[in-house]
């Protein structure tokens, strides 16, 4: 038997200790993303109810649940597009408040289910990336003021595409010229362009054919580990979560029912609902 959490890629399996940056708090934080007792309410109804979880840099947490479980709302709270009714969301120990700075917004990136809807059809891939890189002044300022010169931006855009496995000639093409899987890879490259610390992928392979699903998952997992991102992978598909995640969280009706290491979760689910989910998945005979 192979251990379900074994990784085929060459990235380090265990994350290094938290970088001791100046923003690190003195608390018992491990770095990465922490969701502490987070609640979200719509019209007085709590759709996310006191959820706590943590994702360390370089690891992937899979969040599963059925429709109405609150998993997508939690994702939106983490990226800052809905406000918390209670609790907090922390990045490397510091609070991401209601109003986020542009640096804080860049630090938490979202990849959505529908790669068709998430890319501007009027811009080439190169233009999309260039616009982001023009704004991006987080690292390696090569000019006074921190802006990158044009040639450096072009090189960086080509590097980003190479990271997700697309050829550099893709820069001059429009989204409609790509398949669904390729568009999702472009969306990932776009998310990585601003050097995030957290990647939230909401059903990233749900609208893709199975033959490209694996590629997109491998890119998310490989880059997430390699770049030491705290990755939240939301999926209704337990086999997707099984393929790449280190830990699994199960939500139902806004409540976190279970949070466990993937190896344990898939062999010995702790909550009866987790077990029901796992047992309901149709399996291929003989596998």
């Amino acid at each position: 038997m192979t251990e379900p959490t074994a990784r085929p890629d060459g990235y380090p399996g265990s994350p290094p200790a938290r970088p001791a940056g100046p923003g690190a708090s003195a608390g018992p934080t491990l770095g990465g993303l922490e969701v502490v007792e987070a609640s979200v309410a719509f019209a007085g109804h709590r759709v996310v109810d006191r959820v706590s979880l943590a994702i360390r840099p370089g690891t992937i947490l899979g969040l599963v649940g059925e429709s109405g479980s609150g998993k997508t709302t939690l994702a939106r709270a983490i990226v800052g597009s809905v406000a918390l009714a209670g609790g907090s969301i922390r990045l490397d120990g510091s609070d991401l408040g209601r109003r986020r700075s542009s640096a804080e917004r860049r630090a938490v990136q979202l990849v959505q289910q529908d790669p068709f809807a998430s890319l501007n059809p009027l811009l080439t891939v190169g233009q999309v990336l260039d616009d982001l890189l023009r704004e991006e002044r987080l690292t390696s300022p090569t000019e006074p003021g921190g802006r990158r010169p044009r040639l450096a931006r072009q090189q960086r855009a080509a590097d980003l595409l190479a990271l997700v496995g697309l050829p550099s000639d893709a820069l001059g093409r429009y989204p409609r010229e790509f398949s669904g899987g390729q568009r999702q890879l472009i969306a990932i490259a776009r998310a990585l362009a601003v050097q995030p610390r957290v990647l939230v992928a909401d059903e990233p392979t749900s609208s893709l054919d199975v033959s490209v699903q694996r590629t997109v998952l491998d890119v998310i997992a490989g880059l997430g580990r390699g770049m030491q991102l705290a990755t939240l992978l939301i999926s209704h598909d337990l086999s997707v979560v099984h393929a790449v995640c280190d830990e699994v969280a199960v939500m139902r009706d806004g409540v976190l029912l279970e949070l466990a290491p993937a190896g344990r979760f898939f062999r010995h689910p702790g909550h009866p609902y987790s077990r029901a989910l796992l047992e309901a998945v149709p399996r291929l005979p003989g596998r």
């Binding site: 054919d209 033959s211 689910p269 998945v281 149709p282 399996r283 291929l284 596998r287």
Partner: protein, 250 residues
């Protein structure tokens, strides 16, 4: 010999500006369940819709033969697009019953309730008074099944009927489909992108790619020892998921 519920599709061609389905042939024997699997663009849904005569605007059958023995009814991935948002569930089912059975409105209402109960909708009488948007996805798919059954079909055409459902609800709908099939001796033609779902429902599988049949065979054979490289690649792309160790102490 009773051939009610059988289907013969012979050299089916479907075209828009260009040909999209290039001569698909398949059969469904009375009482048999056959699956069509393929990726997007394979022509699986077009094939199914051509059988029902429900091709999208601008798309037409450009060749071949479709022969259904008996009545065919169809269920879809998205029941909401098929249900009238402004009519109560009971009325929608009763209208089909009245049209099919040429019965009195009262008899049709009684029959509608029976049908809603037969698709295992709890509190059918209460549910019949509701509107489509007040139902869950799984409830709506059951209503669609009731509408299909109201037509007293011999052949049920299913177009990704559980793809939009949660996995636990999918399980319930698939179980229901199996029960109905046994009770009513339905033949089934079932389209899905999900090989595991298809092998659960169907005895035989037709693999389509780019509008052509790649492989046909017993479902178990096709997934355990595929004859074509393409089918093998589809099977290999299915992500494995172990079955959890026995619950409690069993």
């Amino acid at each position: 010999m009773n051939t009610l519920g059988s289907l013969v599709v012979d050299d089916l061609r479907v075209s828009a500006d260009v040909e999209l389905v290039h001569g698909v042939s398949l059969t469904v024997a009375p009482g048999e369940a056959v699956g069509i699997v393929g990726e997007s663009g394979s022509g699986k849904s077009l094939t199914l819709r051509a059988v029902m005569g429900l091709l999208p605007r601008g798309v037409h059958r450009s060749g071949g033969r479709v022969q259904v023995d008996g009545t065919a009814a169809m269920i879809f991935q998205d029941p909401l697009s098929f249900l009238d948002p402004l009519a109560r569930i009971g009325r929608q089912v009763a209208e089909v019953c009245a049209a099919v059975g040429r019965t009195s409105p009262r008899a049709a209402r009684v029959r509608a309730l029976e049908l809603l109960e037969s698709v295992r909708l709890p509190d059918a009488a209460d549910l019949a008074r509701r509107y489509p948007h007040q139902l869950s996805g799984g409830q709506r798919q059951r209503v669609l099944l009731a509408l299909a059954l109201a037509q007293e079909p011999d052949l049920l055409l299913c177009d990704e009927p559980t793809t939009a459902l949660d996995v636990t609800v999918q399980r319930e709908v698939l179980d229901l489909l199996a029960q109905l099939r046994a009770e009513r001796r339905l033949s089934i033609l079932f389209v899905s992108h999900d090989l595991a779902v298809v092998t659960q429902v169907c005895e035989r599988v037709v693999v389509l790619r780019g509008g052509r049949v790649v492989e046909t065979g017993a479902a178990l054979d096709v997934v355990t020892s595929p004859a074509s490289d393409y089918t093998r690649s589809l099977v290999d792309a299915v992500l494995p998921l172990p079955v959890p160790a026995g619950g409690g102490d069993d």
